[in-house]
């Protein structure tokens, strides 16, 4: 079974040289720590930056330089600032090659819910709806089950949707799954996790074909 850093490490293997990538808050942010050597990835922060760098040292902290999670950050050489409409122009325009974000629920049709629990959590969707409506390549990074032990990979999302038919891949603490033709297709098992365990933790339709390899991290 993977921890959060393990999930981030596995997702980092998906990165390709030259890609522009948007990493959501939470586990997705950790992906930046595991970018493979020799791979040049440019991080987009939807509040108006291409070329996000690591957190600043105490001396470098600048209140005018934050990421979409409102954390103080730095820039890399070749970075660019732009306004919010220009930022989402490049997102909707499909120029960001990979979006990684968290979710409360994902279903076998690729629908995702991650912005609202009616009567309970009303923080808002931020840029998530724009991101999922625009990207061709969206990976959801999340735990396979919620704190109550219920599966987050469903036949049909129960919470208000963030986007429909948009998720292509899910990486959880238990598995790597593709979302295709109305089903979750098991591609890789987390170390030490059996296909049976994954099946038990998945409420939506799961396709297990042949021998499923264990992932290498």
């Amino acid at each position: 079974m993977l921890d959060k850093n393990g999930i981030a490490k596995r997702i980092a293997q998906e990165l390709k040289d030259g890609w522009y990538v948007n990493l959501g808050i939470g586990i997705p942010t950790l992906v930046a720590n595991y970018i493979p050597d020799g791979i040049d990835v440019t991080l987009q922060s939807e509040n108006g930056l291409l070329g996000m760098g690591p957190f600043p040292t105490e001396e470098e902290v600048d209140a005018d330089l934050i990421n979409a999670g409102k954390q103080t950050i730095t820039t890399r050489p070749g970075s660019v600032f732009f306004h919010s409409a220009d930022s989402f122009a490049m997102i909707r325009g499909g120029k960001v090659q990979l979006t990684v974000l968290g979710a409360m629920e994902v279903d076998q049709n690729g629908d995702i819910a991650n912005w609202k629990i009616p009567g309970k959590m009303v923080k808002g969707m931020g840029g998530a709806m724009d991101l999922v409506a625009s990207a061709e390549n969206i990976i959801v990074a999340m735990m396979h089950t919620n704190k109550a032990g219920e599966s987050k990979l469903l036949e049909k999302c129960t919470l208000p949707l963030t986007g429909v038919n948009c998720i292509t891949k899910v990486v959880t603490n238990l598995a790597v799954l593709e979302v295709k033709d109305g089903a979750f297709i098991l591609k890789e098992r987390a170390p030490g996790v059996s296909a049976e365990e994954i099946k038990n933790a998945t409420a939506g339709k799961l396709i297990v074909e042949g021998d499923i390899p264990e992932m290498t991290i």
């Binding site: 600043p56 005018d64 954390q71 600032f81 306004h83 997102i91 909707r92 709806m129 409506a133 429909v164």
Partner: protein
């Protein structure tokens, strides 16, 4: 000669009345017009405001100050998660909230300023955001029709400005400021450094002065940080 320069925030907000719609720049607390917000908070008789702003400040800074005073009737925002008083007022029904996806919100402001009354966007298709909105398909993909936004006053914060109203923003403090500046019937800019025309390179200006009606230099910006994340110097 026409003069856009006003003395301070108190003078800048003259004419803002109860019931008006305001746009306020900033993302989180970054790049917010903190002087004008403080000046509005000092005029609690101005209320029933509709505030279009990506976020709603924190309890004791930014728009949180106006919320505490019950000056805001309605918020149009994309994310409002960092403010307890906000959540309390919303859940109790005192405050009306229209959640709008961040990119749609930015594009609505730009469109409002650009004389585009409506546009199609893929964002929100199939979600509750799309309820009641026209859906149309282009090249096999579904889009919803969103209408643009304008405001009685747009209030923005810039790094540098000149007396003609030309503005330059700094780093990610740019965010919603330029698009909101476009969409105000009256646009107020507060700046950290006010200079004479010609001192800003015409090639480097982010917001042309044509959009700015009033401008002033604010003193002693607090620029509060929400998430102070640092690494060790060796890291």
């Amino acid at each position: 000669m026409a003069n856009k320069v006003v003395a301070n925030a108190e003078e800048a907000i003259e004419g803002i009345k109860s019931g008006m719609t305001l746009m306020l720049g900033g993302f989180g607390l970054c790049g917010i017009p903190e002087k004008c917000i403080a000046a509005l908070a000092a005029r609690p008789e101005i209320k029933d405001l509709t505030c279009i702003s990506n976020n709603a400040g924190v309890d004791d800074f930014g728009l949180g100050l106006l919320l505490k005073n019950h000056q805001i009737k309605k918020m149009v925002s994309s994310y409002v998660g960092e403010n307890d008083e906000f959540e309390r007022q919303m859940l109790s029904g005192e405050l009306e909230v229209e959640l709008t996806p961040q990119g749609t919100l930015a594009e609505k402001c730009r469109a409002g300023g650009a004389g585009i009354p409506a546009f199609f966007t893929p964002t929100g298709y199939g979600t509750e955001i799309a309820e009641g909105k026209e859906v149309r398909e282009y090249n096999g993909k579904k889009y919803i029709l969103e209408e643009s936004l304008t405001s009685d006053f747009a209030i923005v914060k810039a790094w540098k400005g000149d007396t003609k109203g030309n503005l330059i923003f700094k780093a990610t403090a740019r965010n919603f400021n330029p698009v909101m500046a476009m969409a105000g019937k009256v646009t107020i800019a507060e700046v950290e450094h006010l200079v004479e025309p010609g001192e800003l390179d015409p090639n480097e200006i982010h917001t042309p002065g044509i959009y700015v009606n009033r401008i002033f230099e604010g003193k002693n910006y607090e620029k509060r940080i929400e998430q102070r994340t640092v690494r060790s110097a060796e890291g």
